[in-house]
Assembly symmetry: C2
Homo-oligomer: 275 residues x 2
Protein backbone atom coordinates (compact mmCIF):
# COMPACT_ATOMS: atom_id res chain seq x y z
CA UNK A 1 0.00 0.00 0.00
CA UNK A 2 1.29 3.43 -0.99
CA UNK A 3 1.55 5.72 2.02
CA UNK A 4 0.45 8.72 0.05
CA UNK A 5 0.76 11.42 2.67
CA UNK A 6 4.16 10.42 3.95
CA UNK A 7 5.45 10.02 0.44
CA UNK A 8 4.77 13.63 -0.44
CA UNK A 9 7.46 16.22 -0.25
CA UNK A 10 7.36 19.84 0.66
CA UNK A 11 6.76 23.09 -1.16
CA UNK A 12 8.21 26.56 -0.66
CA UNK A 13 6.07 29.06 -2.52
CA UNK A 14 7.49 32.58 -2.68
CA UNK A 15 5.71 35.83 -3.59
CA UNK A 16 8.62 37.13 -5.70
CA UNK A 17 11.56 39.49 -5.04
CA UNK A 18 12.89 37.38 -2.18
CA UNK A 19 15.95 38.87 -0.49
CA UNK A 20 19.11 37.55 -2.20
CA UNK A 21 21.66 39.74 -0.46
CA UNK A 22 21.05 40.35 3.23
CA UNK A 23 19.22 38.07 5.64
CA UNK A 24 18.02 35.77 2.86
CA UNK A 25 15.49 34.19 5.23
CA UNK A 26 13.58 32.40 2.48
CA UNK A 27 16.44 31.19 0.29
CA UNK A 28 18.25 30.00 3.44
CA UNK A 29 15.24 27.82 4.20
CA UNK A 30 15.37 26.41 0.67
CA UNK A 31 19.10 25.72 1.13
CA UNK A 32 18.49 24.17 4.55
CA UNK A 33 15.96 21.76 3.10
CA UNK A 34 18.26 20.88 0.20
CA UNK A 35 21.10 20.20 2.63
CA UNK A 36 23.70 17.92 1.05
CA UNK A 37 21.32 17.03 -1.76
CA UNK A 38 21.11 18.16 -5.37
CA UNK A 39 19.20 21.30 -6.31
CA UNK A 40 17.96 21.91 -9.85
CA UNK A 41 17.37 25.58 -10.70
CA UNK A 42 14.69 25.79 -13.39
CA UNK A 43 14.81 29.12 -15.23
CA UNK A 44 12.43 28.23 -18.04
CA UNK A 45 9.86 30.88 -17.07
CA UNK A 46 12.31 33.63 -17.84
CA UNK A 47 13.54 35.38 -20.98
CA UNK A 48 16.80 36.13 -19.13
CA UNK A 49 17.33 32.55 -18.09
CA UNK A 50 21.12 32.53 -18.12
CA UNK A 51 21.32 35.68 -15.97
CA UNK A 52 18.95 34.17 -13.42
CA UNK A 53 20.90 30.92 -13.43
CA UNK A 54 24.09 32.77 -12.51
CA UNK A 55 22.35 34.80 -9.78
CA UNK A 56 20.67 31.81 -8.12
CA UNK A 57 23.69 29.52 -8.53
CA UNK A 58 25.84 32.06 -6.70
CA UNK A 59 23.29 32.66 -3.95
CA UNK A 60 22.70 28.97 -3.30
CA UNK A 61 26.44 28.27 -3.32
CA UNK A 62 26.89 31.02 -0.74
CA UNK A 63 24.15 29.35 1.31
CA UNK A 64 26.06 26.06 1.28
CA UNK A 65 24.40 24.09 -1.51
CA UNK A 66 27.16 22.22 -3.31
CA UNK A 67 25.33 20.26 -5.96
CA UNK A 68 23.40 22.57 -8.31
CA UNK A 69 22.14 21.86 -11.83
CA UNK A 70 20.40 24.06 -14.38
CA UNK A 71 17.18 23.26 -16.22
CA UNK A 72 16.55 25.68 -19.07
CA UNK A 73 13.91 24.36 -21.41
CA UNK A 74 13.28 26.77 -24.28
CA UNK A 75 10.99 24.69 -26.49
CA UNK A 76 8.97 21.58 -25.83
CA UNK A 77 11.50 19.58 -27.87
CA UNK A 78 14.19 20.47 -25.34
CA UNK A 79 12.21 18.71 -22.65
CA UNK A 80 13.21 15.45 -24.37
CA UNK A 81 16.85 16.45 -24.50
CA UNK A 82 19.10 14.12 -22.45
CA UNK A 83 20.82 17.17 -20.91
CA UNK A 84 17.49 18.35 -19.53
CA UNK A 85 16.69 14.96 -18.10
CA UNK A 86 20.16 14.83 -16.55
CA UNK A 87 19.57 18.21 -14.87
CA UNK A 88 16.55 16.94 -12.99
CA UNK A 89 17.41 13.25 -12.51
CA UNK A 90 18.68 12.56 -9.05
CA UNK A 91 17.70 16.03 -7.84
CA UNK A 92 16.28 16.32 -4.33
CA UNK A 93 14.83 19.74 -5.00
CA UNK A 94 13.71 21.95 -7.88
CA UNK A 95 13.59 25.75 -7.71
CA UNK A 96 11.45 27.54 -10.31
CA UNK A 97 12.47 31.16 -10.94
CA UNK A 98 10.17 33.99 -12.00
CA UNK A 99 9.13 35.00 -15.48
CA UNK A 100 5.95 33.90 -17.25
CA UNK A 101 4.04 31.02 -15.69
CA UNK A 102 2.63 29.96 -19.07
CA UNK A 103 6.16 29.31 -20.31
CA UNK A 104 6.68 26.81 -17.50
CA UNK A 105 3.48 24.87 -18.10
CA UNK A 106 3.48 25.06 -21.90
CA UNK A 107 7.09 23.90 -22.16
CA UNK A 108 7.03 21.27 -19.41
CA UNK A 109 3.44 20.03 -19.29
CA UNK A 110 3.16 16.36 -20.23
CA UNK A 111 6.91 15.92 -20.79
CA UNK A 112 9.33 13.37 -19.37
CA UNK A 113 11.07 16.16 -17.47
CA UNK A 114 7.76 17.06 -15.80
CA UNK A 115 7.33 13.41 -14.82
CA UNK A 116 10.78 13.46 -13.24
CA UNK A 117 9.93 16.58 -11.25
CA UNK A 118 6.66 15.06 -10.07
CA UNK A 119 8.62 12.00 -8.96
CA UNK A 120 11.00 14.14 -6.91
CA UNK A 121 8.01 15.57 -5.04
CA UNK A 122 6.28 12.22 -4.60
CA UNK A 123 9.46 10.77 -3.16
CA UNK A 124 9.68 13.44 -0.49
CA UNK A 125 11.72 16.11 -2.25
CA UNK A 126 11.29 19.86 -2.27
CA UNK A 127 9.63 21.92 -5.00
CA UNK A 128 10.19 25.65 -4.59
CA UNK A 129 9.18 28.55 -6.80
CA UNK A 130 9.08 32.32 -6.79
CA UNK A 131 6.74 34.68 -8.64
CA UNK A 132 5.72 32.80 -11.83
CA UNK A 133 7.31 29.78 -10.17
CA UNK A 134 4.82 30.25 -7.31
CA UNK A 135 1.75 30.52 -9.52
CA UNK A 136 2.44 27.18 -11.25
CA UNK A 137 2.25 25.29 -7.95
CA UNK A 138 -1.55 25.04 -8.04
CA UNK A 139 -3.82 22.98 -10.27
CA UNK A 140 -5.61 26.06 -11.56
CA UNK A 141 -3.29 29.02 -11.89
CA UNK A 142 -3.76 32.73 -12.48
CA UNK A 143 -1.89 33.82 -15.61
CA UNK A 144 -3.21 37.33 -16.05
CA UNK A 145 -5.36 40.06 -14.62
CA UNK A 146 -5.21 43.71 -13.70
CA UNK A 147 -3.37 45.49 -10.91
CA UNK A 148 -5.23 47.93 -8.70
CA UNK A 149 -8.68 47.10 -10.03
CA UNK A 150 -11.81 45.43 -8.76
CA UNK A 151 -12.92 42.34 -10.66
CA UNK A 152 -15.17 42.88 -13.67
CA UNK A 153 -16.29 40.68 -16.53
CA UNK A 154 -13.88 42.42 -18.88
CA UNK A 155 -10.98 43.04 -16.50
CA UNK A 156 -8.87 40.35 -18.13
CA UNK A 157 -8.51 37.78 -15.34
CA UNK A 158 -7.13 34.67 -17.03
CA UNK A 159 -6.52 31.20 -15.71
CA UNK A 160 -4.77 28.09 -17.02
CA UNK A 161 -3.93 24.62 -15.71
CA UNK A 162 -0.83 24.67 -13.49
CA UNK A 163 1.63 21.97 -12.39
CA UNK A 164 -0.75 20.93 -9.61
CA UNK A 165 1.54 20.29 -6.65
CA UNK A 166 -0.84 22.09 -4.27
CA UNK A 167 -4.49 21.12 -4.50
CA UNK A 168 -7.59 23.24 -3.89
CA UNK A 169 -5.85 26.60 -3.89
CA UNK A 170 -5.20 29.44 -6.30
CA UNK A 171 -1.96 31.26 -5.65
CA UNK A 172 -1.14 34.85 -6.49
CA UNK A 173 2.19 36.63 -5.94
CA UNK A 174 3.62 40.17 -5.66
CA UNK A 175 0.29 40.44 -3.91
CA UNK A 176 0.04 43.74 -2.02
CA UNK A 177 2.80 45.30 -4.12
CA UNK A 178 0.83 44.91 -7.35
CA UNK A 179 -2.65 45.42 -5.90
CA UNK A 180 -3.88 41.95 -6.84
CA UNK A 181 -6.67 41.30 -4.36
CA UNK A 182 -9.29 42.20 -6.96
CA UNK A 183 -8.16 39.54 -9.39
CA UNK A 184 -7.75 36.86 -6.72
CA UNK A 185 -11.24 37.56 -5.34
CA UNK A 186 -12.55 37.19 -8.90
CA UNK A 187 -10.67 33.92 -9.42
CA UNK A 188 -11.96 32.27 -6.24
CA UNK A 189 -15.49 33.60 -6.76
CA UNK A 190 -15.59 31.43 -9.90
CA UNK A 191 -15.33 28.37 -7.66
CA UNK A 192 -15.23 28.96 -3.88
CA UNK A 193 -13.92 25.42 -3.36
CA UNK A 194 -10.53 26.95 -4.08
CA UNK A 195 -8.81 28.86 -1.32
CA UNK A 196 -7.12 32.04 -2.52
CA UNK A 197 -3.55 32.51 -1.32
CA UNK A 198 -1.98 35.90 -2.04
CA UNK A 199 1.70 36.13 -1.15
CA UNK A 200 3.59 39.41 -0.74
CA UNK A 201 7.10 39.94 -2.03
CA UNK A 202 9.95 38.54 0.10
CA UNK A 203 7.38 36.31 1.81
CA UNK A 204 6.77 32.59 1.43
CA UNK A 205 4.63 29.72 2.53
CA UNK A 206 6.15 26.38 3.44
CA UNK A 207 3.74 23.54 2.74
CA UNK A 208 4.20 20.05 4.14
CA UNK A 209 2.25 17.17 2.64
CA UNK A 210 -0.36 19.52 1.18
CA UNK A 211 -1.96 19.91 4.60
CA UNK A 212 -0.50 22.78 6.52
CA UNK A 213 1.28 25.93 5.52
CA UNK A 214 3.46 28.21 7.57
CA UNK A 215 4.71 31.69 6.75
CA UNK A 216 8.25 33.03 6.61
CA UNK A 217 9.61 36.31 5.32
CA UNK A 218 8.81 39.93 5.89
CA UNK A 219 5.39 40.48 4.31
CA UNK A 220 1.84 39.24 4.62
CA UNK A 221 0.09 36.17 3.22
CA UNK A 222 -3.61 36.75 2.51
CA UNK A 223 -5.70 33.59 2.76
CA UNK A 224 -9.13 34.20 1.24
CA UNK A 225 -11.87 31.70 1.95
CA UNK A 226 -15.09 32.17 -0.02
CA UNK A 227 -16.54 28.75 0.82
CA UNK A 228 -19.02 30.37 3.20
CA UNK A 229 -19.96 33.13 0.77
CA UNK A 230 -23.71 33.62 0.79
CA UNK A 231 -24.18 35.32 -2.53
CA UNK A 232 -22.26 36.33 -5.62
CA UNK A 233 -23.04 37.74 -9.06
CA UNK A 234 -19.89 36.33 -10.73
CA UNK A 235 -21.86 34.47 -13.40
CA UNK A 236 -23.56 37.73 -14.39
CA UNK A 237 -20.35 39.78 -14.47
CA UNK A 238 -20.36 40.56 -18.17
CA UNK A 239 -18.52 43.49 -19.67
CA UNK A 240 -17.78 46.07 -17.00
CA UNK A 241 -20.22 44.75 -14.38
CA UNK A 242 -18.45 44.84 -11.01
CA UNK A 243 -18.32 41.82 -8.72
CA UNK A 244 -20.53 41.33 -5.68
CA UNK A 245 -19.79 38.58 -3.19
CA UNK A 246 -20.96 38.52 0.42
CA UNK A 247 -19.43 36.95 3.53
CA UNK A 248 -15.94 36.10 2.38
CA UNK A 249 -13.44 35.29 5.10
CA UNK A 250 -9.93 36.68 4.97
CA UNK A 251 -6.92 35.87 7.15
CA UNK A 252 -3.75 37.95 7.18
CA UNK A 253 -0.81 35.75 8.13
CA UNK A 254 2.73 36.87 8.78
CA UNK A 255 5.98 35.26 9.91
CA UNK A 256 5.28 32.59 12.53
CA UNK A 257 1.65 32.05 11.54
CA UNK A 258 0.31 28.85 10.08
CA UNK A 259 -2.82 27.67 8.32
CA UNK A 260 -4.44 24.25 8.29
CA UNK A 261 -5.73 23.73 4.77
CA UNK A 262 -8.21 20.91 5.48
CA UNK A 263 -9.94 22.70 8.36
CA UNK A 264 -9.28 26.15 6.89
CA UNK A 265 -8.13 27.39 10.28
CA UNK A 266 -5.31 29.88 10.98
CA UNK A 267 -2.92 29.48 13.87
CA UNK A 268 0.49 30.27 15.25
CA UNK A 269 3.29 27.91 14.32
CA UNK A 270 5.00 28.91 17.57
CA UNK A 271 2.06 27.98 19.75
CA UNK A 272 1.50 24.66 18.03
CA UNK A 273 2.61 22.71 21.06
CA UNK A 274 0.71 24.80 23.60
CA UNK A 275 -2.25 23.36 25.46
CA UNK B 1 -38.82 64.70 22.29
CA UNK B 2 -36.33 64.91 19.45
CA UNK B 3 -36.97 62.21 16.89
CA UNK B 4 -33.32 61.66 16.32
CA UNK B 5 -33.48 59.12 13.53
CA UNK B 6 -36.05 60.93 11.43
CA UNK B 7 -34.29 64.22 11.93
CA UNK B 8 -31.11 62.99 10.30
CA UNK B 9 -30.40 63.64 6.69
CA UNK B 10 -28.65 61.56 4.11
CA UNK B 11 -25.09 61.11 2.95
CA UNK B 12 -23.66 60.38 -0.48
CA UNK B 13 -20.07 59.24 -0.08
CA UNK B 14 -18.13 58.92 -3.33
CA UNK B 15 -14.82 57.11 -3.95
CA UNK B 16 -13.43 59.88 -6.19
CA UNK B 17 -13.29 60.43 -9.98
CA UNK B 18 -17.06 60.24 -10.38
CA UNK B 19 -18.22 60.53 -13.97
CA UNK B 20 -18.86 64.21 -14.79
CA UNK B 21 -19.47 63.88 -18.53
CA UNK B 22 -21.42 60.82 -19.60
CA UNK B 23 -24.00 58.92 -17.57
CA UNK B 24 -23.20 60.86 -14.37
CA UNK B 25 -25.07 58.27 -12.30
CA UNK B 26 -23.72 59.54 -8.99
CA UNK B 27 -23.89 63.29 -9.52
CA UNK B 28 -27.41 62.85 -10.93
CA UNK B 29 -28.41 61.24 -7.65
CA UNK B 30 -26.91 64.20 -5.75
CA UNK B 31 -28.86 66.59 -8.03
CA UNK B 32 -32.04 64.54 -7.62
CA UNK B 33 -31.80 64.78 -3.83
CA UNK B 34 -31.09 68.53 -3.98
CA UNK B 35 -34.11 69.03 -6.25
CA UNK B 36 -35.31 72.63 -6.11
CA UNK B 37 -33.19 73.28 -3.01
CA UNK B 38 -29.89 75.07 -2.52
CA UNK B 39 -26.59 73.23 -2.99
CA UNK B 40 -23.37 74.52 -1.46
CA UNK B 41 -20.21 73.28 -3.21
CA UNK B 42 -17.37 73.23 -0.68
CA UNK B 43 -13.98 73.23 -2.39
CA UNK B 44 -11.84 73.88 0.69
CA UNK B 45 -10.00 70.55 0.44
CA UNK B 46 -8.42 71.57 -2.83
CA UNK B 47 -5.54 73.76 -3.91
CA UNK B 48 -7.34 74.35 -7.21
CA UNK B 49 -10.57 75.41 -5.55
CA UNK B 50 -11.73 77.90 -8.17
CA UNK B 51 -11.25 75.39 -11.00
CA UNK B 52 -13.25 72.76 -9.13
CA UNK B 53 -15.95 75.27 -8.33
CA UNK B 54 -16.40 76.03 -12.06
CA UNK B 55 -16.42 72.34 -12.98
CA UNK B 56 -18.99 71.31 -10.37
CA UNK B 57 -21.15 74.41 -10.84
CA UNK B 58 -21.43 73.64 -14.54
CA UNK B 59 -22.15 69.94 -13.98
CA UNK B 60 -24.80 70.54 -11.34
CA UNK B 61 -26.44 73.26 -13.48
CA UNK B 62 -26.56 70.78 -16.36
CA UNK B 63 -28.22 68.33 -13.98
CA UNK B 64 -30.93 70.86 -13.14
CA UNK B 65 -29.74 72.35 -9.85
CA UNK B 66 -30.57 76.07 -10.02
CA UNK B 67 -29.45 77.39 -6.66
CA UNK B 68 -25.71 76.77 -6.13
CA UNK B 69 -23.34 78.55 -3.76
CA UNK B 70 -19.59 78.25 -3.21
CA UNK B 71 -17.82 77.68 0.10
CA UNK B 72 -14.07 78.20 -0.20
CA UNK B 73 -12.48 78.54 3.20
CA UNK B 74 -8.73 79.06 2.93
CA UNK B 75 -7.84 79.86 6.52
CA UNK B 76 -9.66 79.32 9.80
CA UNK B 77 -10.35 83.06 9.94
CA UNK B 78 -12.37 82.81 6.75
CA UNK B 79 -14.76 80.43 8.45
CA UNK B 80 -16.00 83.46 10.40
CA UNK B 81 -16.39 85.51 7.25
CA UNK B 82 -20.01 86.54 6.61
CA UNK B 83 -19.66 85.47 2.96
CA UNK B 84 -18.81 81.93 4.10
CA UNK B 85 -21.75 81.79 6.44
CA UNK B 86 -24.00 83.08 3.65
CA UNK B 87 -22.78 80.29 1.35
CA UNK B 88 -23.96 77.60 3.72
CA UNK B 89 -26.96 79.28 5.39
CA UNK B 90 -30.21 78.08 3.93
CA UNK B 91 -28.49 75.32 1.98
CA UNK B 92 -30.27 71.99 1.72
CA UNK B 93 -27.14 70.15 0.67
CA UNK B 94 -23.37 70.47 0.87
CA UNK B 95 -20.99 68.81 -1.59
CA UNK B 96 -17.34 68.44 -0.49
CA UNK B 97 -14.89 68.11 -3.39
CA UNK B 98 -11.60 66.23 -3.34
CA UNK B 99 -8.19 67.44 -2.21
CA UNK B 100 -6.69 66.97 1.23
CA UNK B 101 -9.04 65.81 3.98
CA UNK B 102 -6.93 67.53 6.66
CA UNK B 103 -7.60 70.89 5.00
CA UNK B 104 -11.33 70.35 5.45
CA UNK B 105 -11.16 69.42 9.13
CA UNK B 106 -8.40 71.82 10.13
CA UNK B 107 -10.13 74.79 8.46
CA UNK B 108 -13.72 73.96 9.41
CA UNK B 109 -13.48 72.04 12.67
CA UNK B 110 -15.12 73.90 15.55
CA UNK B 111 -16.20 76.85 13.41
CA UNK B 112 -19.61 78.47 12.98
CA UNK B 113 -19.63 77.27 9.38
CA UNK B 114 -19.18 73.70 10.59
CA UNK B 115 -22.10 74.18 12.99
CA UNK B 116 -24.25 75.36 10.08
CA UNK B 117 -23.32 72.31 8.03
CA UNK B 118 -24.12 70.00 10.94
CA UNK B 119 -27.48 71.72 11.27
CA UNK B 120 -28.25 71.09 7.59
CA UNK B 121 -27.68 67.37 8.16
CA UNK B 122 -29.61 67.23 11.43
CA UNK B 123 -32.55 68.93 9.74
CA UNK B 124 -32.74 66.28 7.03
CA UNK B 125 -30.42 67.74 4.42
CA UNK B 126 -27.84 66.02 2.25
CA UNK B 127 -24.10 65.94 2.87
CA UNK B 128 -22.14 64.59 -0.09
CA UNK B 129 -18.41 64.26 -0.63
CA UNK B 130 -15.93 62.75 -3.04
CA UNK B 131 -12.38 61.54 -2.40
CA UNK B 132 -11.09 63.69 0.50
CA UNK B 133 -14.70 64.80 0.87
CA UNK B 134 -15.60 61.14 1.43
CA UNK B 135 -12.91 60.50 4.05
CA UNK B 136 -14.10 63.35 6.29
CA UNK B 137 -17.55 61.79 6.67
CA UNK B 138 -16.45 59.49 9.48
CA UNK B 139 -15.53 60.28 13.09
CA UNK B 140 -12.07 58.78 12.70
CA UNK B 141 -10.66 59.35 9.25
CA UNK B 142 -7.70 58.01 7.30
CA UNK B 143 -5.40 60.85 6.24
CA UNK B 144 -2.40 58.94 4.98
CA UNK B 145 -0.98 55.54 4.23
CA UNK B 146 0.73 53.65 1.46
CA UNK B 147 -0.62 52.33 -1.80
CA UNK B 148 0.02 48.73 -2.77
CA UNK B 149 1.48 47.67 0.56
CA UNK B 150 0.52 45.45 3.43
CA UNK B 151 0.18 47.17 6.81
CA UNK B 152 3.32 47.49 8.91
CA UNK B 153 4.23 49.50 11.97
CA UNK B 154 6.22 51.92 9.86
CA UNK B 155 4.06 52.00 6.75
CA UNK B 156 2.77 55.47 7.54
CA UNK B 157 -0.94 54.85 8.14
CA UNK B 158 -2.23 58.06 9.73
CA UNK B 159 -5.58 58.92 11.20
CA UNK B 160 -7.24 62.11 12.40
CA UNK B 161 -10.67 63.13 13.71
CA UNK B 162 -13.15 63.68 10.87
CA UNK B 163 -16.44 65.59 10.60
CA UNK B 164 -18.28 62.62 12.10
CA UNK B 165 -21.48 62.41 10.06
CA UNK B 166 -21.20 58.62 9.81
CA UNK B 167 -20.53 56.76 13.05
CA UNK B 168 -18.60 53.53 13.62
CA UNK B 169 -16.97 53.38 10.22
CA UNK B 170 -13.67 54.28 8.62
CA UNK B 171 -13.94 55.25 4.98
CA UNK B 172 -11.29 54.95 2.31
CA UNK B 173 -11.58 56.06 -1.32
CA UNK B 174 -9.91 55.44 -4.72
CA UNK B 175 -9.90 52.02 -3.11
CA UNK B 176 -8.99 49.36 -5.67
CA UNK B 177 -7.40 51.92 -7.98
CA UNK B 178 -4.78 52.91 -5.41
CA UNK B 179 -4.37 49.51 -3.76
CA UNK B 180 -5.57 50.67 -0.35
CA UNK B 181 -6.84 47.48 1.27
CA UNK B 182 -3.62 47.15 3.28
CA UNK B 183 -4.01 50.50 4.97
CA UNK B 184 -7.74 50.05 5.64
CA UNK B 185 -7.14 46.62 7.19
CA UNK B 186 -4.50 48.25 9.40
CA UNK B 187 -6.85 51.05 10.41
CA UNK B 188 -9.72 48.78 11.43
CA UNK B 189 -7.39 46.33 13.17
CA UNK B 190 -6.60 49.15 15.59
CA UNK B 191 -10.22 49.02 16.75
CA UNK B 192 -12.49 46.39 15.16
CA UNK B 193 -15.55 48.25 16.42
CA UNK B 194 -15.12 50.33 13.28
CA UNK B 195 -16.35 48.91 10.02
CA UNK B 196 -13.98 49.55 7.12
CA UNK B 197 -15.64 50.89 3.97
CA UNK B 198 -13.43 51.08 0.88
CA UNK B 199 -15.07 52.79 -2.09
CA UNK B 200 -13.80 52.48 -5.67
CA UNK B 201 -13.67 55.40 -8.06
CA UNK B 202 -16.96 56.39 -9.76
CA UNK B 203 -18.78 54.47 -7.04
CA UNK B 204 -20.72 55.75 -4.06
CA UNK B 205 -22.69 54.74 -1.01
CA UNK B 206 -25.96 56.43 -0.17
CA UNK B 207 -26.56 56.41 3.58
CA UNK B 208 -29.92 57.15 5.12
CA UNK B 209 -30.13 57.99 8.82
CA UNK B 210 -26.79 56.34 9.54
CA UNK B 211 -28.39 52.90 9.39
CA UNK B 212 -28.34 51.49 5.91
CA UNK B 213 -26.17 52.08 2.90
CA UNK B 214 -26.80 51.26 -0.73
CA UNK B 215 -24.36 51.26 -3.62
CA UNK B 216 -24.50 53.14 -6.92
CA UNK B 217 -21.91 53.61 -9.64
CA UNK B 218 -19.70 51.31 -11.63
CA UNK B 219 -17.17 49.93 -9.13
CA UNK B 220 -17.09 47.90 -5.95
CA UNK B 221 -17.55 48.86 -2.30
CA UNK B 222 -15.51 46.71 0.09
CA UNK B 223 -17.08 46.41 3.53
CA UNK B 224 -14.54 44.96 5.96
CA UNK B 225 -15.79 43.67 9.29
CA UNK B 226 -13.11 42.70 11.82
CA UNK B 227 -15.46 42.52 14.82
CA UNK B 228 -15.27 38.73 14.75
CA UNK B 229 -11.50 38.66 14.31
CA UNK B 230 -10.01 36.02 16.57
CA UNK B 231 -6.45 37.24 16.79
CA UNK B 232 -4.27 40.14 15.72
CA UNK B 233 -0.73 41.34 16.33
CA UNK B 234 -1.48 45.02 15.60
CA UNK B 235 -0.22 46.21 18.97
CA UNK B 236 3.11 44.50 18.32
CA UNK B 237 3.49 45.84 14.78
CA UNK B 238 6.56 47.95 15.38
CA UNK B 239 8.91 49.02 12.64
CA UNK B 240 8.53 46.74 9.64
CA UNK B 241 6.62 43.95 11.39
CA UNK B 242 3.79 42.84 9.08
CA UNK B 243 0.21 42.60 10.29
CA UNK B 244 -1.52 39.36 11.24
CA UNK B 245 -5.26 39.28 11.79
CA UNK B 246 -7.45 36.17 11.56
CA UNK B 247 -11.09 35.72 10.61
CA UNK B 248 -11.94 39.05 9.09
CA UNK B 249 -15.15 39.20 7.08
CA UNK B 250 -15.27 41.03 3.77
CA UNK B 251 -18.26 41.86 1.57
CA UNK B 252 -17.94 43.10 -1.99
CA UNK B 253 -20.94 45.22 -2.87
CA UNK B 254 -21.79 46.67 -6.26
CA UNK B 255 -24.64 48.64 -7.78
CA UNK B 256 -27.97 47.50 -6.36
CA UNK B 257 -26.48 46.00 -3.19
CA UNK B 258 -27.12 47.32 0.29
CA UNK B 259 -25.69 46.92 3.77
CA UNK B 260 -27.37 47.20 7.15
CA UNK B 261 -24.86 48.86 9.43
CA UNK B 262 -26.39 47.88 12.78
CA UNK B 263 -26.67 44.18 11.96
CA UNK B 264 -23.63 44.26 9.66
CA UNK B 265 -25.55 42.29 7.03
CA UNK B 266 -25.31 42.71 3.26
CA UNK B 267 -28.34 42.50 0.98
CA UNK B 268 -29.83 43.50 -2.30
CA UNK B 269 -31.61 46.84 -2.41
CA UNK B 270 -33.74 45.42 -5.23
CA UNK B 271 -34.94 42.46 -3.21
CA UNK B 272 -35.70 44.53 -0.14
CA UNK B 273 -39.45 44.00 -0.52
CA UNK B 274 -39.23 40.30 -1.35
CA UNK B 275 -40.59 37.71 1.07
Amino acid sequence: VKKKKEAKGSLIIIGGREDKEEKMVILSEVARQVGKGKLCVATLASSIASDLWVIYRNVFRKLGVTHISHLDVVQRDDARDPACLRAVRGADAVFFTGGDQLRITSELGGSLVADEIAKIYEQGGLIAGTSAGASVMSESMLVGGPSDASYRGNSGVKMAPGLGFMKNVIIDQHFAERGRIGRLLGAISQNPKYLGIGIDEDTAIIVKGDEKLSVIGCGTVYVIDARGATESNISECDEDRALSIFNVKIHLLSQGDSFDIASRAPGHAKRQGAA
